[in-house]
């Protein structure tokens, strides 16, 4: 059963710690750790969404940071127009509208770019997803009205029923619940018939096609779901940082998301979350030690790729599990 697996027990413990510790720290006056945990959980959602296509689908998307950007700007731009006028039809501080916009636009972008990218495979797919993400990056870089290179301060957080996002605890809890739900969604998807086809196509696409499955459509659907989820994470990110800039969707951000998935363990439920925890903690520790922290960080990345296959989940599972 579920709890008899060592990895499942560890999953529950880590998820519980992830919920309790930040709240305890916050109430004892360490607000910094709650901020850290909120960022970590939001990136966790993005990594979970990427894992659906990268881990289970075998589709190496190097452009998922674009959805974080689209999601954040879908919060920032309506607020900007609400405060400074112009573009009446999108001006709003309503969180449900903003989140709907973030998810809808991300899904649309995933549908269009996915329809083109998925016609190719292998290295082409990696580079094309990266190039499309870079296209969005340059688009927002060129939009001077929304700050261009300098970015845009979001004057007001999304107004939602029941939760007040200006309260750090409530923001964290919303993000945490969203993470748990997105993990459940991905888990449900991969155990469904749809998910079986998606994973089957990763193993042997030709065989699935011969069996009569239109794997292109399955993959495109998974890609759109993944993009929409990541766009939602972006909307949370915009609310968390109250600031958006094209930098948050640069291609190194996409690389970091990919690394979180691989570090934690691709194609596992908990892997992306472990990956984002490890990533953020290491980043935090190293960057507090030296301004040259990218050097040990890069070496660690190379080391993980060369020597630690299967990621943290692979290590946790050990043998015979």
């Amino acid at each position: 059963m579920f709890l008899t697996k060592r990895s499942s027990r560890i999953t529950l413990v880590v998820m519980a710690l992830l919920l309790v510790m930040p709240v305890v720290f916050y109430n004892t006056g360490n607000e910094f750790y709650l901020d850290l945990a909120t960022r970590l959980v939001i990136l966790g959602i993005a990594a979970v969404s990427l894992n659906l296509v990268l881990g289970y689908g075998g589709l190496v998307s190097f452009g998922h940071a674009a959805y974080i950007g689209i999601g954040s700007y879908a919060v920032g731009i309506p607020v900007y127009h609400e405060f400074y006028g112009g573009f009446e039809s999108v001006a709003s501080t309503n969180g449900l509208f903003q989140i709907g916009l973030a998810v809808g636009l991300s899904a649309l972008f995933a549908l269009i770019t996915g329809a083109i990218s998925l016609r190719t495979k292998g290295v082409y797919f990696i580079m094309i997803t990266m190039a499309f993400a870079q296209m969005v990056y340059y688009l927002f870089l060129s939009l001077d009205e929304y700050g261009g290179d300098d970015g845009l301060v979001i004057e007001m957080r999304s107004q939602l029923p029941l939760v007040d996002l200006d309260n750090p605890i409530e923001l964290f809890l919303l993000c945490y619940v969203s993470l748990a739900i997105s993990m459940l969604i991905v888990r449900t998807i991969i155990h469904s018939r749809f998910g079986m086809v998606l994973q089957g196509a990763k193993g042997n696409n030709e065989r699935l096609i011969t069996l009569g499955y239109n794997t292109y459509l399955y993959r495109l659907t998974a890609y759109v779901i993944s993009g929409a989820m990541c766009g939602f994470a972006g909307a949370l990110m915009g609310n968390f940082s109250s600031f958006i800039s094209p930098e948050m969707m640069g291609w190194s951000r996409s690389g970091e998301l990919m690394f979180m998935v691989i570090l934690g363990g691709a194609a596992t439920t908990m892997g992306p979350v472990f990956g984002s925890i490890a990533f953020i903690l290491v980043e935090e520790v190293l960057s507090s030690l030296t301004i040259y922290w990218h050097l040990p960080f890069g070496l660690m990345l190379i080391g993980v790729v060369l020597f630690a296959r299967g990621g943290l989940m692979g290590i946790l599972r050990g043998k015979g599990d």
């Binding site: 083109i116 939009l143 990345l301 190379i302």
Partner: protein, 307 residues
């Protein structure tokens, strides 16, 4: 219409295209023969520029510095091949991407440690620093002409190398069937290292050529590498001819798009709408073209015949 400006912009586009070709040719060569995705190729471009900058100050002459810096970037390429790329050849492309992504962080930070955070401008020799009056109303910096001539000469040299020399024959043979080439008694490991070093030198050369114009700076490679990816995707990954044609087309479209798209838009929309939408469209132009080409030909314009 201002034909002098059009001519100058075309030259600028040609210059960008040739620099893109130098970067993209190394990428496509390494991918074609080694089946290896090297994200850190842009870092080699950056290192070329920095090494050349230091040598220019040390030796007192930019051109001498380029000649000395080229083999040095080749050596760095060899080291990257030996210690990072070689253990990854047997892995999938995802591992290539992640490993070389880590390498970018390492190389960028090392550059920061060695040369400091600020960019370095490279002074040109006096005779290269001037301008030349090509014809009525068209004044072009001599150095830009030198970049174009160097780019064309390197492209020609590369075509000769790949198509008419023994090394080129081995490269082409390795690209179509690695195992067979190894079975015929060719030291494939050395061949791989040579190809990698050659790619590094080409990227380094591009960095050295651009440095006197836009200075050597950290992260300079991370911008051009994406455009170089677009070039090899459009041209067909692994194809030298495709890389050359796509690089020139992308270079010209990008440069001319940035200068003329607002004028083109004003023909069919109000002036202020054109002013606001033109920068956004010209920033996305090459990606839109990439998308259109891929929608029609998913394998690029000139996919290599055997893979």
């Amino acid at each position: 219409m201002d034909y002098a400006l059009l001519f100058i912009q075309t030259l600028n586009g040609l210059q960008l295209g040739l620099l893109l070709f130098l970067v993209a040719s190394g990428l496509t060569l390494v991918f074609g023969i080694l089946d290896f995705v090297n994200l850190a190729h842009g870092s080699l471009y950056m290192l070329g520029a920095f090494i050349c900058a230091s040598l220019t100050f040390l030796l007192g002459n930019f051109l001498v510095a380029v000649v000395v810096a080229l083999p040095l970037t080749g050596v760095i390429g060899y080291l990257v091949e030996r210690f990072i790329a070689r253990p990854l050849y047997a892995r999938d492309h995802l591992d290539h991407v992640l490993g070389t992504f880590g390498l970018i962080l390492v190389l960028d930070t090392l550059t920061h440690l060695i040369w400091g955070p600020a960019g370095i401008a490279i002074p040109l020799p006096v005779w290269l620093d001037g301008q030349v009056n090509l014809f009525e109303g068209v004044v072009v910096p001599i150095y830009r002409l030198l970049i174009i001539v160097t780019g064309l000469a390197t492209a020609a040299g590369l075509f000769w190398l790949v198509n008419y020399t023994r090394l080129g024959m081995l490269i082409r043979a390795g690209a179509s069937n690695r195992t067979m080439v190894a079975a015929l008694g060719i030291d494939i490991q050395t061949l791989f290292a040579l190809v990698f070093a050659l790619g590094a030198m080409l990227a380094g050369l591009a960095g050295m050529l651009i440095a006197p114009i836009s200075e050597a700076s950290i992260g300079m490679g991370n911008n051009i590498i994406i455009t170089a990816f677009v070039v090899i995707i459009v041209g067909g990954i692994g194809s030298m001819k495709g890389a050359f044609i796509a690089a020139l087309v992308i270079g010209l479209i990008d440069t001319l798009g940035r200068s003329y798209i607002d004028d083109a838009f004003k023909l069919f929309m109000p002036s202020d709408a054109a002013e606001t939408s033109a920068p956004a469209v010209s920033a996305m132009l090459i990606y839109i073209i990439m998308a259109v080409i891929l929608a029609v030909r998913p394998q690029g314009l000139f996919p290599p015949k055997v893979r």
